[in-house]
Symmetry: C2
Subunit: 216 residues, 2 copies
């Protein structure tokens, strides 16, 4: 008797994520899944980055929140195409939510899509959306111990942005200990210190991003 | 034909939570389930409160984290009995985890138990642990829009502590807008502004807590 062996069966979510990726690739859109704690500065990072993008890279945004359209309103105020997803009680975005949101975005007119995930340092890391890169935003007021407490999130990152660095002294934030913690679970990941409020460091991270968009 | 109608069936978690509560009541221990975003200051709040408790109220702590024993180490350094729960990847504590942890605590020697939940503004609100009250810690650097974005968490609170109030000006934090957002989902809940770093407001919140312990 021959026993059937089926390899590489994708989960339902991973299957839709792969379909999303096909859509993104066909439209030549580079996609970043932005994950962070509540209030780390995901929306501020997106708006600060938008200011530094070269004109040939036009931006679109998908906003994920349990409730409200506060973040989408902030993005729309800057004339950036945006779709708000309200998850109800769900603690993360999933690939089918993105698939539905895509029909409301002018994909052929944008080159970069930020997907701002629900504010949560745990669950979003477990759900592929079809993005090219995972951007994890940490922030100084949260403390330097976060990589040790939430290793799965930092392990999933392709790049870590450390935001609100103007408050390093106020919070006695130990940058070396933070970097050590990230390195334990993700030794090669680049870490960019930024401050979205003052703009510090945003140019360097945007340069990194643009290079990756062009290399894709 | 008589159709059997079964009322008030508790979920598996709620059933264990009710059992935990029976254990707490029998030992005369008042229990607070402390919930917040990562880095809002849950551990700092517990340590600041410990300094203000009258001597007849002895404290115990259960620490919940995805990984690490950083918080339990900080509590133990103050000679407070503490148990660390590591959830692995789980984004919240549940009642069976508490039930197991209880066997490691000297319940007859304490009057107050803080259960520090996993840092997450969504999932922990959905899982009863058997506590007497839910304490939600918000913090100024997260922004005043959090009650609008995470209504379930703020709806679940018996008391809201707004931490890091020394930074209200730095973050242009709109206290009225924050209070309005909390009020939309939880009109009667008290909101205490505190700063665990400086100790500001910790006496007033501790007084509220002690009153509730004595009234129980």
């Amino acid at each position: 008797m021959k026993i059937p062996v089926v390899k590489d069966i994708l989960s339902a979510n991973d299957q839709v994520a792969a379909e999303n990726r096909t859509v993104f690739d066909a439209a030549n859109v580079f996609v970043a899944n932005v994950m962070a704690s509540p209030g780390a500065g995901k929306t501020s990072m997106i708006l600060a980055t938008a200011k530094h993008l070269p004109p040939e890279i036009r931006l679109g945004v998908i906003e994920g929140d349990v409730a409200s359209s506060i973040d989408a309103d902030a993005i729309a105020a800057h004339d950036i195409p945006v779709v708000q997803i309200n998850t109800g009680g769900n603690c993360h975005l999933d690939a089918p939510m993105i698939s539905k949101a895509l029909t409301h975005l002018p994909l052929t007119e944008i080159q970069l899509l930020f997907i701002e995930n629900v504010g949560n340092l745990i669950c979003p890391a477990g759900f592929a959306l079809g993005a090219n890169i995972a951007v994890v935003v940490a922030s100084v007021p949260e403390g330097h111990d976060k990589p040790y407490k939430y290793p799965g999130m930092f392990a999933s990152a392709d790049i870590v942005l450390l935001n609100k660095i103007d408050l390093i002294d106020v919070f006695e934030f130990d940058v070396l200990d933070f970097r050590r913690g990230v390195g334990l679970v993700n030794p090669e990941v680049p870490i960019f210190p930024i401050c979205c409020r003052t703009g510090e460091g945003v140019d360097a991270w945007t340069e990194w991003l643009v290079e990756h968009i062009h290399a894709d």
